[in-house]
Amino acid sequence: MLILECPYCGVEAEETELHAGGQAHIKRETVGSDDDAFEHYLFSRANPRGVHLERWRHANGCGKWFHAARSTTTLEVFGTYSAQTFEPPKAIVDAITAKHPNWSFDQWKDLS
């Protein structure tokens, strides 16, 4: 059972209160983007074995979207953070690199 702390209401919410929203920090293409960019936005997603940054919604709760950093292999949660950011805050990156020294946000972004 996955348990994530909602950064908005401070609740330790278990999986059944949450809704998974897929990969975090993707660039949303819009009017003026070319076909390749749109295809990438619509269909390409990283599926790493290990550290992943995801979007989750506290659906049966405050209703807010937030971000979570966790390992897809061990289910270890490195932390959750606000959705109003383009990259993970330093505390999250520190928690990840403490366990995975070679991990970097830039490298993770290039996965998809």
């Binding site: 209401c9 059944t16 209160e17 659906a59 049966n60 405050c62």
Partner: protein, 190 residues
């Protein structure tokens, strides 16, 4: 003018705790910047209460204010006063980035009372409702079996719960089933 009735018109179940549909209740959703002085003074004027802190439910007399999310409050007022209070709040918040809606007829309210009231909710929600983790005045939006609800502790052994009106029948049934005599777990009993 039609005659307003609540979803289950006061339905009641006596188990090891008592489940009661609370009848008509005025409920107003207020969304906006909860830290702004405009919202604070509007809420104070409407209910006599301060904006509650995270996951708290404040009550005084016939009024209540619940913290629903970082930008949402639920105001509980007498049913017949809800339209007028909604209009007053909307007027007070004119020009603010805020929203005030009378949701009284879109919701149902239940009370869960009795020695093992906490157990009725514990069986249905992924929430630690022990006295230590969930003292009086605590509010939680969560899941009750398969539906979204919010509940708060009115007292040591008394809770109030709201759900969507269309789900009132389901909520009453699962609460009643959970409170059925003979199904006590006594997890929280001291």
């Amino acid at each position: 003018m039609s005659n307003a009735v609540s979803a289950l018109q006061g339905a009641r179940f006596e188990g090891f705790a008592t489940i009661t549909e609370s009848g008509l209740r005025g409920m107003i959703t207020l969304r906006g910047d909860l830290a702004s002085s405009a919202v604070k003074s509007a809420v104070k004027a409407a209910t006599g209460l301060a904006v509650p802190t995270q996951r708290q439910f404040a009550t005084a007399d016939e009024h209540g204010v619940g913290w629903m999310s970082p930008d949402e409050l639920l105001l509980m007022v007498p049913y017949e006063k809800a339209p007028e209070i909604t209009a007053r709040l909307a007027a007070a918040l004119e020009g603010e980035h805020a929203l005030v809606v009378n949701v009284s007829d879109a919701r149902a309210v239940f009370s869960i009372e009795g020695q093992s009231a906490r157990e009725v909710l514990a069986k249905l929600s992924p929430v630690d409702v022990s006295q230590e983790s969930f003292p009086e005045g605590t509010l939680r939006r969560t899941r009750l079996a398969q539906t979204a609800v919010a509940f708060w502790a009115k007292g040591k052994n008394a809770f109030e719960l709201i759900c969507f009106r269309s789900e009132a029948g389901y909520v009453f049934d699962v609460l009643s089933m959970s409170a059925r005599k003979g199904s006590e777990v006594n997890f929280y009993s001291t």
